[in-house]
C-alpha cells in the first residue's frame, strides 16, 4: 500500500516540470519590464500597409533625410537618438564618485516580504512547486496551472 502511494506521488511530480531559479528570475524580470512599456498594441500607422510605405514614419530613418535639406533637428536626431540604456552607459557611473543615478536607487526593504495569490491577489500561504508563483486555494492553483504556470514560455 505504502509503496503504491509513493509511486503515484512521484508520478504526479514528474508530470510537472520544475523551473530552475534562473528561469524564475528571467520571468520576473520580463514581467517587470512589461510594466515599463508605453503601449501593448501596434502603432495604428503600422496597420496601413501601403500608406505606411509612402508616408513619413514616426521613426524616420536617415534615408529620407538625405533628400531633405539638413536642418538643426536632423543634427539633434543623429546625436541624441540614444535610448535610456545607452545614455546610462555613456554616463559611466560605475567609476564616478558621489551620489548619482545608480546610487540614488532605494535600497531593498528591511521589512518582511509579503505574499499574494498570483490569481486573485489575496494574501497567500502556498507556493506553486513548478514555477514558484503564489496561490491561496486549490481553485486558484487550478486556474494558475491552466492559464500561466508552465505555459509562459521564457
Amino acid at each position: 500500500m505504502v509503496e503504491k502511494k509513493i509511486a503515484v506521488r512521484s508520478q504526479e511530480a514528474n508530470q510537472r516540470r520544475v523551473l530552475d531559479r534562473a528561469t524564475r528570475q528571467r520571468r520576473l524580470t520580463r514581467q517587470l519590464e512589461a510594466l515599463e512599456k508605453d503601449n501593448f498594441q501596434d502603432d495604428p500607422h503600422a496597420s496601413l500597409p501601403q500608406l505606411a510605405k509612402r508616408l513619413p514614419q514616426f521613426d524616420e530613418s536617415n534615408e529620407s533625410s538625405k533628400k531633405r535639406k539638413k536642418t538643426r533637428g536632423d543634427h539633434f536626431k543623429q546625436r541624441f537618438r540614444k535610448n535610456f540604456q545607452a545614455l546610462l552607459e555613456e554616463e559611466n557611473l560605475s567609476v564616478s564618485e558621489g551620489p548619482n543615478y545608480l546610487s540614488a536607487c532605494a535600497e531593498p526593504s528591511k521589512l518582511p516580504q509579503r505574499h499574494f495569490c498570483a490569481v486573485c491577489g489575496f494574501p497567500s500561504n502556498y507556493t506553486c512547486v513548478s514555477c514558484g508563483a503564489r496561490y491561496c486555494c486549490v481553485r486558484c492553483l487550478g486556474t494558475h496551472h491552466e492559464t500561466r504556470c508552465l505555459k509562459w514560455t521564457v
Binding site: 520576473l28 514581467q31 517587470l32 512589461a34 510594466l35 515599463e36 512599456k37 508605453d38 503601449n39 501593448f40 498594441q41 502603432d43 495604428p44 500607422h45 496597420s47 496601413l48 500608406l51 508616408l55 514616426f58 524616420e60 538643426r72 533637428g73 539633434f76 536626431k77 546625436r79 541624441f80 537618438r81 540614444k82 535610448n83 535610456f84 545614455l87 546610462l88 555613456e90 554616463e91 558621489g98 551620489p99 548619482n100 543615478y101 540614488a104 536607487c105 532605494a106 535600497e107 531593498p108 526593504s109 528591511k110 521589512l111 516580504q113 509579503r114 499574494f116 490569481v119 486573485c120 491577489g121 489575496f122 494574501p123 492559464t147
Partner: protein, 396 residues
C-alpha cells in the same frame, strides 16, 4: 520681459507665464484607431472623440528625455501660435529636469533652448527644488524640508536645507503612475477583461477608484466578504465614447452584488485592486521590485543626514506629484513614518492644495525673486561660454 515656467513632466507639461495661471497639458503625441493617418500632439488629444485603444508616443523613457523628435513637436505646439505664442527674444524660461539628468541630455537642452528656440535667458532646475522654494517661502521659519515627488516615471525623496538640495539624501523608487496603470491593466486583463490596449481608459479607472489603504490586511479581509458587507467592492461603468463619454462608479445603492445589470453597459468589477495597486508605492516588493516603499525610504534617507537636522525633516514632509492625489495617501505616509520614528520627534506631512502644480507655483515665485536674474543664464552668456556656464550655474 516675461518668464515662461515649464515643469516638463514625463506625463504632463505644467506650463504658463509667471504672471498668468498654469495649464496642465499632455507631454506626448497620440495616434487613434479612428483617424489612423494623423498624429495628435499634446492638447490635440481633445480632438480625439474615441480614445479607446489610444496609442501613446512619449518623449521620456524611465523619466529621462530620450525622444527629442517628439519633445520638439510638443514644444513647438506649446510655444507656438496655437498656445503660448512665445516671443523668444523677450522671454526667459524656467524649465525642469529630473534629478541626475544625464550630461548629454543637459547639453541638448542648452542647445535647443538657446540655439533653436533662442530664449533670452534660461534657468534649468529640478522640479523638487521649485517645490522646496515654494515651501520655504510659505514657511519662512523652517530650515529644512523633505520633498516627495511621486509622478509618472518614478518617485523621488529629496531633502532640502535652507533652500539647498542635499544630494547625498536623494532617493529614487522606480515606482510611478505609469507602472501603477500598467499593473492595473495587467491584473484586470488576467482576472476579467482584456484591457492591455486601453491605457487611457484604465488610467482613468485608476484615478477614479484606487485609494491608499490605512490598514492593508483589514481591507483585504473586507474585500473577501460577500454582498453588502464588502464595502471595498465597486462596479465601474466603462465609457463607450458615444452614450457614455466618461467612465464612472455605480453609486452604491444602484450596485447589484450578483454583478449582473440589465442596462447592458460594460462593467469592470474592482475589489482588492482598488488598494493593492497604489500599495506598490508603499511596498514595491509586493510585485518583486526589491526597493523600500516611500515611508521606509524617507525615514532611511533622513537617518543618513546629520543628526541635528533630522527632527527638522520629519516636521516638514511635503508631498508633490500626481500619485499623492490617491485618497488616503497623506494619512498613510504620516502613519507609516510615525511608526518608524522615535516618539520624541514631531512628524508633519503636508499635502499642498494642488500637488501636481506645486513645483510650477514654486517656479512662478522664484521668477519674481530678486535673485532670479542672478540664477539664469542669458543667451549672450551661453553664446560666449557654451555649456560650461550652464554647468556652473545650474544645479541639476
Amino acid at each position: 520681459m516675461t518668464t515662461l515656467v515649464l515643469d516638463n513632466g514625463a506625463y504632463t507639461a505644467k506650463i504658463g507665464y509667471s504672471h498668468e495661471k498654469v495649464s496642465v497639458i499632455p507631454n506626448c503625441q497620440f495616434r487613434s484607431k479612428t483617424s489612423r493617418l494623423k498624429t495628435f500632439t499634446a492638447s490635440q488629444l481633445d480632438e480625439i472623440k474615441d480614445p479607446s485603444g489610444l496609442f501613446y508616443i512619449l518623449p521620456f523613457q524611465k523619466g529621462y528625455l530620450v525622444n527629442w523628435d517628439v519633445q520638439r513637436k510638443v514644444w513647438d505646439h506649446l510655444f507656438g501660435k496655437e498656445m503660448f505664442k512665445v516671443d523668444f527674444a523677450d522671454t526667459s524660461i524656467v524649465i525642469t529636469e529630473p534629478y541626475f539628468n544625464f550630461t548629454s541630455i543637459q547639453e541638448s537642452m542648452n542647445e535647443i533652448l538657446f540655439e533653436e528656440y533662442q530664449f533670452q535667458a534660461a534657468l534649468r532646475i529640478n522640479a523638487g527644488s521649485l517645490s522646496a522654494h515654494r515651501y520655504f517661502q510659505e514657511n519662512s521659519s523652517e530650515l529644512c524640508c523633505i520633498v516627495v515627488d511621486s509622478g509618472f516615471s518614478f518617485t523621488h525623496i529629496v531633502p532640502y536645507c535652507r533652500g539647498k538640495k542635499m544630494k547625498d539624501g536623494i532617493c529614487r523608487l522606480n515606482v510611478g503612475g505609469k507602472l501603477l496603470t500598467n499593473h492595473l491593466k495587467e491584473i484586470i486583463s488576467y482576472r476579467q477583461l482584456h484591457v492591455m490596449d486601453e491605457t487611457y481608459v484604465i488610467n482613468q479607472v485608476k484615478e477614479d477608484v484606487c485609494y491608499v489603504s490605512q490598514d492593508f490586511y483589514k481591507d483585504m479581509d473586507i474585500a473577501q466578504l460577500k454582498g453588502e458587507e464588502n464595502t471595498v467592492m465597486r462596479d465601474y461603468v466603462l465609457p463607450d465614447f458615444s452614450a457614455i463619454k466618461k467612465g464612472f462608479c455605480k453609486p452604491r445603492e444602484e450596485m447589484n452584488f450578483t454583478g449582473k445589470y440589465k442596462t447592458g453597459e460594460q462593467i469592470l468589477r474592482l475589489n482588492n485592486e482598488r488598494f493593492a495597486v497604489p500599495e506598490m508605492l508603499f511596498h514595491p516588493s509586493d510585485i518583486g521590485i526589491q526597493e523600500m516603499g516611500i515611508p521606509e525610504a524617507l525615514v532611511n534617507s533622513v537617518h543618513n543626514l546629520p543628526e541635528e537636522m533630522q527632527p527638522h525633516f520629519f516636521k516638514n514632509i511635503v508631498l508633490t506629484g500626481g500619485n499623492t492625489l490617491f485618497p488616503g495617501f497623506r494619512d498613510r505616509v504620516y502613519k507609516d513614518v510615525r511608526s518608524l520614528t522615535p516618539t520624541d520627534f514631531d512628524v508633519s506631512v503636508v499635502q499642498p492644495q494642488n500637488p501636481i502644480c506645486y513645483s510650477w507655483e514654486g517656479g512662478k515665485l522664484l521668477s519674481e525673486n530678486p535673485d532670479f536674474d542672478e540664477m539664469v543664464v542669458t543667451r549672450e552668456d551661453y553664446e560666449e561660454n557654451g555649456h560650461f556656464i550652464c554647468e556652473e550655474k545650474f544645479d541639476i
